[in-house]
């Protein structure tokens, strides 16, 4: 695989761009693999990459029913942060952040990880106390965090509503400087290319339709491209975990819900950070191309349709103007929906399953993108060793039975309220 660099760009420019190679091979399935990862999204591709890179397992296939990166990795609002409160989440997401910081160079693919900082506004002293608690935990775990007062916020993001007519006046904010955004598609492509570089087969347009069993163990999959044997099978199809889980015989605490994302027309630089509104559901950043990328709350009912409803579009627009009155005339260019696996505690699931040979990675709720590298790293470890990586020890499927839930928001077991 030829390395990407400024030099390679120059050389190819001089030869009319004729000498670039495929970013990854168009592989067709072999009869069997040591490991099959179902799902060619960010998590599945990262898992395959780390299986090869960290564990030397190279006889690996990634099966993707559509095209690489066509699911949530390419539909999200690209926010990356590690500002989690609960023991278990804090360390996992910070580990992910560290992997992000080295990702472009590790993959030789520029994922444009932009550590522009994220702030969440607070609208009362009590809310700011809550944020301080979170910031304290972050600092005590070696993670950068700051608490800003109203004037700090005004200096940083003067375009927010600091007027007398603000319905929920800004009191302060929590800020994480190392948080930011990345180019979402590039993450999928970068992992695909790097995994391919380790001889992983990436097989597109290959839908898994069933599982092959030998007594109680899973030993392969049925696909639209035929049967494929596997020593171990890893499931990484967040959004559709239940659909495949049912086929494997898993009982899951997961519901699929739609979260909408929005992008405006491209503008000259306006929003230099990731900004989230603490009084309602709204968060925004500006892509390098200039579009404001934003999102809000779940549509709020089970859905596998990758589209949202107009009521939520309006609510998000209202929150957008409440926070940033200056974008009233900026125009919405596109909105779309992503299908999320929602769990009863809004924390993910990475673990061996009760079914021998089957490993589960799912339940990412609306936070899967930022977890991509750590999820792949830890899932690869879990598959390779058969035991959960210590960083995902809290993400077992049995936690709902035992009561060891990790409910960051305290919203309780109704998945759509998380």
């Amino acid at each position: 695989m030829a390395r990407y660099s400024a030099f390679s760009i120059l050389r190819n420019a001089l030869s009319g761009q004729k000498n670039w190679q495929r970013a990854w091979r168009a592989a067709e399935p072999k009869p069997s693999y040591d490991v099959i990862v179902i799902g060619g999204g960010g998590h599945g591709l990262a898992t395959a990459f780390y299986l090869a890179e960290n564990h030397g397992i190279r006889n690996v296939a990634v099966l993707e029913k559509g095209y690489v990166g066509g699911g949530n990795v390419g539909r999200n609002t690209t926010v990356i942060r590690s500002n989690y409160l609960l023991d278990g989440n804090t360390q996992f997401y910070e580990f992910s952040m560290k992997l992000w910081e080295g990702m472009s160079r590790a993959l030789n693919f520029n994922v444009m990880f932009s550590q522009r900082g994220q702030l969440v506004t607070a609208h009362s002293a009590d809310q700011l106390d809550g944020f301080s608690h979170r910031a304290n935990v972050m600092r005590l775990n070696g993670i950068d965090a700051d608490i800003l007062d109203r004037e700090d916020v005004r200096r940083l993001v003067p375009y927010l509503d600091f007027s007398d007519t603000a319905r929920f006046p800004i009191h302060g904010a929590i800020f994480q400087g190392r948080a930011g955004t990345a180019r979402h598609d590039a993450v999928a492509w970068g992992y695909a290319r790097a995994a391919d570089g380790h001889a992983v087969d990436i097989i597109q347009n290959c839908e898994v339709t069933g599982f092959l069993r030998d007594r109680d163990s899973i030993v392969g999959v049925e696909t639209t491209k035929g049967r494929i044997g596997a020593g171990k099978v890893g499931l990484a199809v967040a959004g559709h975990t239940s659909v495949l889980g049912v086929k494997a015989g898993l009982e899951l605490p997961i519901e699929s819900h739609v979260l909408q994302a929005f992008v405006t027309e491209p503008l000259k630089p306006l929003v230099d950070h990731v900004v989230a509104y603490g009084a309602d559901h709204f968060y925004v950043s500006q892509s390098d191309k200039g579009g404001l990328v934003f999102g809000g709350n779940l549509d709020g009912y089970n859905s596998y349709a990758q589209r949202g409803n107009l009521g939520v579009v309006r609510e998000v627009a209202e929150a957008a103007i409440a926070l940033m009155p200056c974008i009233s005339r900026v125009r919405l260019l596109r909105h779309w929906g992503g299908v999320m696996d929602m769990t009863p505690d809004a924390s993910p699931i990475i673990c061996p399953t009760p079914i021998d040979g089957l490993y589960l990675n799912g339940g990412w709720c609306y936070g899967g993108f930022k977890a991509t590298p750590a999820s792949g790293w830890c899932f690869a470890h879990t598959i390779a060793t058969g035991k959960p990586h210590p960083l995902v020890a809290a993400y077992g499927l049995d936690r709902f039975r035992t009561g060891h839930t990790l409910d960051e928001a305290g919203a309780g077991p109704s998945a759509w309220l998380q």
Binding site: S242, L252, I254, E255, G300, Y301, G311, F400, R401, W416
Partner: protein, 93 residues
């Protein structure tokens, strides 16, 4: 924009309703001491890509809880009925 036809108020935008989740699960009797039954009721979901029985409350209308049958792939609604009716039916059965 879902429109749900409330059996007593007529078709309304879904934002007049409060969602109540999967209606196919069975709530154990209030004094059922079986942890497994409660665990399954609270946590385990079939989450189908297709027909889904679910609770909605017409919260800014008649305040009745409904059972709605809806296809989660395209939001086509096959039926709406008062939850009371289907609960009573279930209990009699």
């Amino acid at each position: 924009m879902l429109r749900i036809e409330c059996p007593c108020c007529g078709p309304r935008d879904h934002d007049e309703f409060r969602y109540g989740g999967d209606a196919s699960v069975t709530r154990p009797a209030h004094d059922d001491p079986d942890p497994e039954a409660w665990y399954r009721y609270v946590y385990i979901r079939t989450n189908p890509a297709g027909q889904h029985r679910e609770f909605w409350q017409h919260v800014t209308g008649c305040r009745q809880w409904m059972v709605v049958e809806r296809d989660t792939r395209n939001h086509a609604i096959a039926s709406v009925d008062f939850a009371r009716k289907s609960t009573v039916r279930k209990q009699r059965a």
